[in-house]
């Protein structure tokens, strides 16, 4: 990932955009933050937040025209009658009325020996004076009248008490600004003279003066001012406020002009670019998306504009602010919620993680824990797919040889098993040399329900036109390799699949697994594929399906089918034909959630995977129907009675729905054995191939109690691993023994993982008492006898 890609992705996440109120405010007051503290009763912090951007908050809180309020999202809440937007200015005033100014941490910067003259002591001029004095410049204000304040004095006393004006404007002198009252600039004191004694001048003389100071004018006779920098035609002279905007100028705009002119003057005096990086100044439109349709209406707290809010009422009104933010993806994603990240933060961390040359890569697990389910992109206002970023990061980690070996090893070994002789097979229909259609059941349906795979094969034989030559392809679609970022393995697997399909006469492929459908469509676009569900919807259900008798079920769509609307509809049509009543889950079809298997999440971060499934099982009140073997088992393991659609279609007689739905999830050892058994059974039954002698290691009979079995599953130790350890120990005699119990403790490292098994021979079998594994290895020094054979 390049820096520019990072920036582009970061830009797509809008969570950090300013909320509408702050964006619309020409000086970008962070009203959201102010109101948050005020609602909590922390009025002092609220006031100090306010004071960071507003120079005279007591005045502004009383006279501000509130461009913020026009765009306040509170005003968009409600169906027929909308809520009133929040009384933001009155709440700012309440901060001043009830808050105590904390010790000012933003001390003025060290003095700079440069002089700035401000012409005009109204809001615009005094804001510029305030900002420049704080930056350390030597500032003098020239005001034609006495006192300072300009048109502030035109507000009625009850709206803006004179005492308030006096108090707040006294801050100017506190900052060390030299104030010259009754000193009009023009005749007695000319701009030339001011300019001679000052490095910069800001003209903020108000609308009435009508003076032009010999500066360039536009067609209407107004001083020409750069809209971004407020520079006039004369070097070092800037102008703003109602001088430019006329009598109708909003107070808040005058303040903003003073602030922006001060920025220009500072840059001018430091001899840096006046124009660089000035986007976003002034009133702008917010890019933040905030969903409001799930916000409860809240009535405005009545306001007496003269008296203002009581402190309690101010807190209540502030509590109507629902703290605009996007977080659409985080709301629906347990993974993002668990890691407390929204995409913008995540992207930055992913990038940093990939950039580390030496040191700890703290984000490895976060990158690997995403299920890649795509729900984030579905709900994102800008379609940002965080999963795609994580997948790209994994591919980069693999390329950098930085992928933790343990992250995906178990899943990749499972994939290797599916591609091994134990399971993989490609057969044309018996007696033919080419196929019109092949059934590709995939790895996990074959693991979970080898009988159903055979039933589907038999069904297809009957459902397809009589002349159809129906073949079989057992193997892996490559999904685990893709999820692990192993592009090399994905490519290698695809090459194998292409060759096999070619050997089968490039047939149409019937797929039963959602991940397979996704993989085939994405990576083998030249292959015609058809989902089993689409085919069944068209060709009809097999005889003997269990009638649903109106039983209510929730459908859990597999995340890999997110964009397969037709398939999802056909699943529902099949359930309807079977006699089930479907209640849709709140999040289904295009907005379905992952079960925790996707992206190898369950292996990379079991805690997150548990949260994902726990949330999903809470969402529906009925039993679930899944149409992915892994979804079925993960939901069942999460405690939700769940059937696979094929359980209903090929319902074994006698087994009622509940028994089927509550059967425990299969263990990993059983998954391997079922795959191997499926191959042996179907090749024997359909193709009449002699059953090869089973691998002698597989004949080693194990006795495993339920308790030990559960431990082995949790530790991801397979029976075949245990058999290898015992076989090795029995063959070589190398093992340890517990003197008290007589039990053996043997170890073996077939590839990357070292396994330890505590066992004892029982007749011709072996009872297993415990097993554990590790990846570190003992390095003998000096090497004595061979570590393994």
């Amino acid at each position: 990932m390049e820096q520019k890609d990072l920036r582009a992705l970061e830009e797509l996440c809008i969570q950090e955009c300013a909320p509408p109120c702050a964006a619309a405010c020409p000086i970008h007051v962070d009203a959201r933050a102010v109101l948050l503290d005020l609602a909590k009763g922390d009025v002092d912090t609220a006031l100090n937040t306010l004071r960071r951007t507003v120079p005279f908050p007591g005045i502004v809180g009383r006279i501000c025209e509130q461009p913020c309020r026009v765009v306040c999202n509170r005003g968009k809440v409600g169906a027929d009658v909308k809520d009133a937007p929040i009384e933001i200015a009155a709440l700012e005033r309440a901060c001043v009325d009830y808050g105590v100014v904390k010790v000012d941490k933003n001390r003025p910067q060290p003095k700079r020996n440069k002089h700035v003259a401000i012409v005009g002591g109204g809001l615009s001029g005094l804001t510029a004076a305030h900002d420049l004095a704080r930056k350390g410049y030597i500032v003098s204000v020239y005001e034609a009248l006495d006192p300072l304040g300009g048109r502030l004095w035109s507000y009625p006393e009850e709206r803006l008490p004179h005492a308030m004006i006096t108090t707040e404007l006294s801050l100017i002198e506190t900052l060390g600004v030299e104030v010259h009252l009754n000193t009009p600039v023009g005749e007695a004191l000319t701009l030339d003279e001011l300019r001679d004694h000052n490095e910069a001048v800001y003209l903020a003389i108000g609308a009435e003066a009508g003076m032009t100071f010999g500066l360039a004018l536009d067609g209407t006779g107004k001083i020409v001012v750069d809209p971004v920098t407020f520079a006039t035609s004369r070097d070092g002279v800037f102008a703003g406020g109602s001088l430019l905007r006329g009598h109708a100028a909003q107070a808040i705009d005058s303040i903003a002009d003073g602030r922006r002119a001060a920025i220009s003057i500072d840059r001018y005096l430091q001899n840096v670019s006046l124009t660089a990086s000035r986007v976003g100044e002034g009133s702008v439109e917010s890019c933040l998306y905030t969903r409001v349709d799930d916000i409860a209406p809240a009535a405005i707290i009545p306001l007496d504009a003269i008296v203002g809010y009581s402190r309690a009422d101010a807190e209540r009104e502030a509590a109507r602010c629902f703290q605009c933010e996007c977080m659409e993806c985080v709301k629906v994603c347990e993974y993002l919620a668990h890691y407390k990240r929204y995409p913008r933060k995540l992207v930055r961390e992913v990038y940093n993680n990939l950039s580390i040359v030496k040191g700890t890569r703290y984000s490895n697990q976060m990158i690997n824990a995403c299920s890649l389910c795509g729900l984030c992109a579905e709900v994102c206002p800008t379609d940002l797919d965080t999963g795609a970023i994580n997948l790209q990061a994994r591919e980069t980690m693999v390329a950098q040889k930085r992928m933790p070996p343990s992250a995906h090893d178990f899943a990749l070994r499972d994939m290797a098993f599916s591609r091994s002789e134990a399971f993989a097979a490609a057969r044309n229909a018996p007696g033919t040399t080419s196929s019109d259609v092949v059934f590709f059941p995939g790895c996990q349906l074959s693991s979970a329900s080898p009988e159903q795979v055979q039933q589907v094969y038999a069904y297809l034989g009957g459902a397809l036109p009589a002349e159809t030559r129906l073949g079989l392809l057992l193997g892996c679609c490559g999904a685990p390799a893709e999820w692990a970022g192993r592009k090399d393995l994905v490519a290698e697997n695809l090459t194998g699949l292409r060759e096999q399909l070619q050997g089968l006469g490039n047939p149409k492929v019937v797929l039963a697994c959602s991940s397979c459908i996704r993989s085939f469509k994405a990576r083998l676009p030249e292959v015609a594929v058809l989902s089993l569900w689409d085919l069944m919807a068209e060709r009809g259900l097999p005889a003997g399906a269990q009638p649903g008798n109106g039983r209510v079920v929730n459908v859990h769509d597999a995340c890999a089918t997110r964009h397969e609307a037709g398939l999802q509809d056909n699943v529902r049509a099949l359930l309807d034909r079977l006699g089930y009543t479907i209640e849709e889950l709140p999040r289904s079809k295009a907005r379905t959630t992952c079960c925790g298997y996707g992206g190898v999440q369950w292996l990379a971060d079991p805690v997150v995977a548990d949260k994902v499934v726990a949330r999903r099982v809470e969402e529906g009140s009925a039993d679930y129907v899944a149409y992915c073997a892994m979804c079925r088992d993960f939901l069942a393991r999460g405690g939700k009675p769940t059937v696979h659609l094929l359980d209903l279609i090929f319902g074994t007689s006698g087994a009622d729905f509940k028994t089927e739905a509550e059967r425990p999830a299969l263990g990993w050892s059983q998954r391997h054995e079922n795959r191997a058994r499926l191959k042996r059974d179907i090749l024997t039954k359909v193709w009449g191939e002699p059953m090869d002698g089973p691998d002698p290691i597989d004949t080693l009979r194990l006795i495993v109690s339920a308790e030990v079995r559960a431990r082995l599953e949790k530790r991801l130790i397979l029976d075949e691993d245990i058999r290898r350890v015992i076989a090795h120990a029995e063959r070589t005699g190398r093992r340890l023994v517990h003197p008290d119990t007589g039990r053996y403790l043997a170890t073996h490292k077939p590839v990357a993982v070292t396994y330890w098994v505590e066992y004892a021979p029982v007749g011709d079998a072996y009872e297993v008492f415990n097993a554990y594994s590790h990846r570190m290895e003992v390095v003998e020094d000096p090497p004595k006898q061979g570590q393994s054979e």
Binding site: N364, R735, L736, V737, W756, S773, V778
Partner: protein, 66 residues
């Protein structure tokens, strides 16, 4: 690592008690000396469950993220 008074296991091949011995354990190219029980004759080393599932996993994870 502290060594229990009575070694929990002995070598079944050599029928000998294991003795605390300094050995090296390694992962991803990093090796660490550690005292483990080892058969003085055939060299079999015992890695107990609590070490494998405790400290070793911890160190493995740290090294994987380096």
């Amino acid at each position: 690592m502290s060594t229990p008074e009575k070694p929990p296991v002995m070598c079944a091949l050599c029928n000998r008690a294991l003795v605390p011995t300094q050995v090296n354990v390694a992962y991803l190219g990093n090796a660490f000396p550690v005292e483990l029980l080892k058969c003085p004759t055939c060299g079999q080393v015992f890695i107990p469950e609590d070490l494998a599932l405790g400290k070793m996993v911890e160190v493995e994870k740290q090294l994987e993220d380096k």
